[in-house]
């Protein structure tokens, strides 16, 4: 990996599920220390893109390439991607009754550390780390005794995702609609947690439907997705433009095929 190589390079990525093509040629470069926002209307492929990056096997990559730190990301299993430093905050965090929240996280952290040749943390050291990181998202300690996401409110689940991210300390974090279902107070808390994790070594891809989140997590770049590809890219002002004009105009609709705008934008 040379100095000029971005952390993540996505080239002409196509993916389908159940025979239906969802991603139709995504190109994207994200460098270390950068925060990229991906916006777009429902059904534009944002979440699919996030899940393909995290290694979800439901989606079949049919064309294209993804290089992460110069290596073929698509050849790795989801757990290998986690070991390599990729983390996705789920849009819909999964409830797992019977598995303790902290136990799960320590198992995950130690799996990562072991695979990276680092020493595993014992229960005491882990607890100290967890308690410190919980403060980042103002998470109540009562969470620790509960099963993973079981009975959590929408906001608690999202905070739990950012808490996990803070403990697992990824290189590339993908936040899939972390703002959905949050009231303004919860949004602020989550955003401040995310901001505290910004660093020159870490890249983030923030996927959102609304501009609102980007008032709190200010991105370096904004991309707009439409029909499975990135149709426009720009600075943070693009998000404001979207807010004012709506997706239809920014994407260049109404055009006949919906592709003209995309090609023009690239």
């Amino acid at each position: 990996m040379t100095r000029t190589e971005p952390m993540l390079r996505v080239m002409d990525l196509h993916a389908k599920v159940a025979g239906k093509e969802i991603l139709r040629g995504i190109d994207l470069e994200v460098g270390a220390g950068e925060v990229h926002a991906i916006m777009g209307p429902n059904g534009s492929g944002k979440s699919t893109f996030a899940q393909v990056l995290a290694g979800r096997e439901t989606f079949e990559v049919t064309k294209g390439e993804v290089l992460y730190q110069g290596k073929d990301l698509l050849a790795l299993s989801p757990e290998e991607r986690a070991v390599a430093g990729i983390f996705m905050a789920f849009q819909y965090p999964v409830e797992i009754p019977g598995v303790g929240n902290l136990y799960f996280l320590r198992t995950a952290l130690n799996a990562l550390r072991k695979r990276r040749g680092e020493e595993e943390l014992d229960a005491m050291d882990f607890l100290a780390l967890a308690k410190e990181r919980m403060k980042l998202v103002a998470m109540d300690e009562s969470f620790t005794g509960r099963s993973v996401n079981e009975g959590f409110s929408g906001g608690e689940k999202k905070r739990n995702e950012i808490f996990q991210m803070a403990v697992l300390d990824p290189k590339l974090a993908i936040l899939d609609e972390t703002d959905s279902g949050l009231d303004i107070d919860a949004l602020r808390t989550v955003a401040s947690g995310v901001n505290s994790l910004r660093s020159k070594d870490r890249a983030m891809i923030v996927i959102t439907h609304y501009q609102r989140l980007l008032e709190y997590i200010v991105p370096d770049r904004v991309h707009v997705m439409g029909s499975g590809r990135i149709v426009r890219s720009g600075g943070r002002e693009l998000a404001l433009e979207l807010e004012q004009k709506g997706y239809a105009q920014v994407e260049g609709r109404p055009t006949v095929s919906g592709r003209a705008g995309g090609e023009a934008a690239q």
Binding site: A54, G55, R56, E57, T58, S77, P78, E79, R81, A82, V83, F87, M88, F90, Y92, P93, V94, I96, P97, G98, V99, G100, Y103, F104, L105, T107, A108, L109, N110, A111, L112, K114, R115, A123, S147, Q164, L168
Partner: protein, 443 residues
Amino acid sequence: MTNFARSLGASFARLDDRPGRSGRIGLLRHAAFARFSELGLPTTKEEEWKYTNLAPLAQVQFEPAAKAKPPTLDQLDRLAGGPLGGGAVRMVFVDGRHRPELSSRVRSYGGTFIGSLAAGLAERPELVERELARHADYQRDALTALNTAFIEDGAFIHLPAGTALQSPIQLLFVSTTPGKPTLSQPRNLIVAGAHSQATVVETYAGLADEVYFTNAVTEVVLGENARLDHYKLQEEGARAFHVALTQVHHGRDSSFTSHSVALGAALARNEVRALFASEGCECTLNGLYMATGKQHLDNRTVIDHKSPRCTSRELYKGVLAGQSRGVFSGRVLVRQDAQKTDASQTNKNLLLSDDATVDTKPQLEIFADDVKCAHGAAVGQLDENALFYLRSRGISQEAARSLLTYAFASEMVNLVPLGPLRARVRDLVTSKLPAFEALKEAA
């Protein structure tokens, strides 16, 4: 005539030659053997055995175990999972025979009796002769008849009225199988007097992966307001056959809780039958069966609501991997006079592979009109979303599967109230799960 039947005839005759084989028990044994000869081993044509085929058993020529070299205390501790708390009493049976030299020395206190069936017959003949084989019906069931025909040894526990034992009584049945396929048929009798209370743990284990057959019957007689917590941990060897019946007779306002954990044997069938002979009783049947490879684990329960105002709760969970097969059949019978019955029955199964199967058959038969009854059965697979969630955090696929499987089974583990016993059950469960080393401290 099958190999099995041939070997039994000879064994029965030998047993009969021993001294002290006359009297009521002798007559009983002869009647039971005659009944077994009539019935023969059950076949899949019988409704109660529809899903479990004993044909492989019929081909084996079993012999009663010769006196074997006893297991070491270390081996016993490994099989039993260490002591179950201070003051716990352990009785050890090797190949069906009580071994006092390996068992706790039991002081007789306040009239409580914890000893072998043979000792019980000598010391409390009236009680033993009155209750033995009165509850487990050998006319109905061939394997109960077979066990009854060979009554020789087992545990006898008698709690006089008002006795409450704080520490559990552990009955450890170990098969050693030196060379030839052996048959052992423990026969246990637990008589709990009015207002008495105890915990009994039956553990069945094998020392070697050889063919052997355990055919056990336990009769439980509960007096008024008596309370018994009963555990059965089935960790037989990989090639073993295991059939067991626990038959419970409820006196007025009595309470029985059963935890059946079935993990071992090539083919096993565990049956629990409870009869509410009087009003106001409670019965809770919990079960967990986990099969791998080509194991076949059959669970049958029958709760007979013969009397009014009784409550029964039943939860059985199965985890089937590989090409294994699980069976649950649960019958709840609410008779005409059993008004104010409250019964619920649930069976949930997790299939871990395409080749694993389960047959689940909950049965409610209600003849009373003022009752509350519910039942349900479910068969599912691991949640793909949850698997991906765990893997995306760095947990390997195998460990993620084990963790989710443990999460499914842990409900049954957590229902065990005694700490040391819960830890033992948890260890047994996790030992069945691949890649669980990294997950050892779950729960």
